[in-house]
Assembly symmetry: C2
Homo-oligomer: 205 residues x 2
DNA sequence: GGCGAACCTCTACCTTAGTATAGGTGACTA
DNA sequence: TAGTCACCTATACTAAGGTAGAGGTTCGCC
């Protein structure tokens, strides 16, 4: 019987999903409410086949939590689950070695299939994901940004002024202005606030 | 047998919660994936006792969806459910007449209790909610904002310029500047971008 | 009636943000 | 070698954002 560890800090979601998986199919589901609890659980006696991590969970810190879990337990398969993440994050997760990405928009039945798929050793990625509401033609708008522009955008997302960004990146304020201007143009937005909101909406930072 | 309508656009969450409610207790659960579908369903033959709306659902538009549902079906009890909303939103929802607020952080068992409570005619609000990670001393910073300042903040959250906000609110640009200045002071932030990010983080708009 | 609060407006001023153009560097490549 | 690209800097300018002080209106409240 495959043994699954589910980490989600939403009690309701965690309880009902694990109850569902436990009854519908022959899964042995353990559930915890934080990344730390998951890691601790995996260091215990029971060995797990699959760890499912909620992307929004407290302490995950974006994809850092995913990488930490994979690093500390290289033999266990790890899947990321999310209700809000989009193609950008999903792609990043997969390219960093996740064994699967499970959007919460999936039906319960599809989720079970996805889990079985992953347990059989495949890597699961939802095909038609992120194209519906995501008008981005093929790949992300953000991929057009250069390294420096991306860093600038990151600072923008904390609400820093040009002067502050200049200090943070060790360049002149004029340079920051240039980067900001390019970012606005590439993202096709009118001002820094919109750029920050856009990046936040896509959960880039 | 009480009849419940659950609206959530996360298939996984919706399926598992409704399955759980359907088995654990004697609830007759119907589930849909959008606000419009919920409203349509309620206009049909079956009469529902309780409508549970997911706050993050597509088309909800903050508390607008809640108000619309209450207005169109005044006899049906309406509860808001959310995984990310904090005390601010919860309070607002209750003060606008919602019959309950169900955070997804609740355990499945507590959720069932809450639902029973609401069905019995009470209004449910989680007691110790939103105090843990919310450093706000007692009440929300946002409650200090006047009506106009709140409207200004809302426009800010779309990334509009002062001039555009002025047009939207039918006032002079100088007035908008005044409102913006007051908002920044009350929220204790340095600029409009930070104000927008802060409001977005707390999921006010 | 007097008071305060929220609202709107104005003038004036200074700071920050964003645009335009031009020029210089190093790295990589046809 | 010439070309391209990301990067940094510079000057100069316009537009937008934010501050300060003063004044006026409406409304509810003691």
């Amino acid at each position: 019987m495959p043994s699954i560890l589910l980490a989600d800090d939403h009690g309701l979601v965690r309880d009902t999903i694990s109850a569902y998986l436990g009854t519908i199919d022959d899964f042995d589901v353990t559930s915890v409410s934080s990344l730390d609890a998951a890691l601790k659980e995996m260091s215990g006696l029971t060995s797990f086949d699959l760890l499912i991590l909620d992307y929004q969970m407290h302490g995950m810190n974006g994809l850092e939590g995913l990488e930490r879990a994979m690093k500390e337990h290289p033999t266990v398969k790890v899947a990321l689950m999310s209700g809000i993440a989009n193609r950008d994050v999903a792609n990043m997760a997969m390219s960093r070695g996740a064994d699967g990405f499970i959007p919460k928009s999936l039906t319960a039945a599809s989720t079970v299939n996805a889990i079985k798929f992953i347990l059989s050793g495949e890597r699961y990625f939802p095909f038609d994901f992120g194209n519906a509401q995501n008008e981005t033609p093929r790949d992300s708008v953000f991929s057009e940004l250069s390294e420096r522009e991306l860093q600038t955008l990151e600072q923008l997302c904390i609400g820093l002024s040009n002067k502050e960004i200049a200090r943070a990146l060790n360049v002149q304020e004029v340079t920051v202005k240039l980067h900001v201007k390019n970012v606005l143009a590439k993202l096709k937005v009118a001002n820094r606030t919109q750029a920050a909101l856009m990046a936040k909406e896509r959960h880039l930072f």
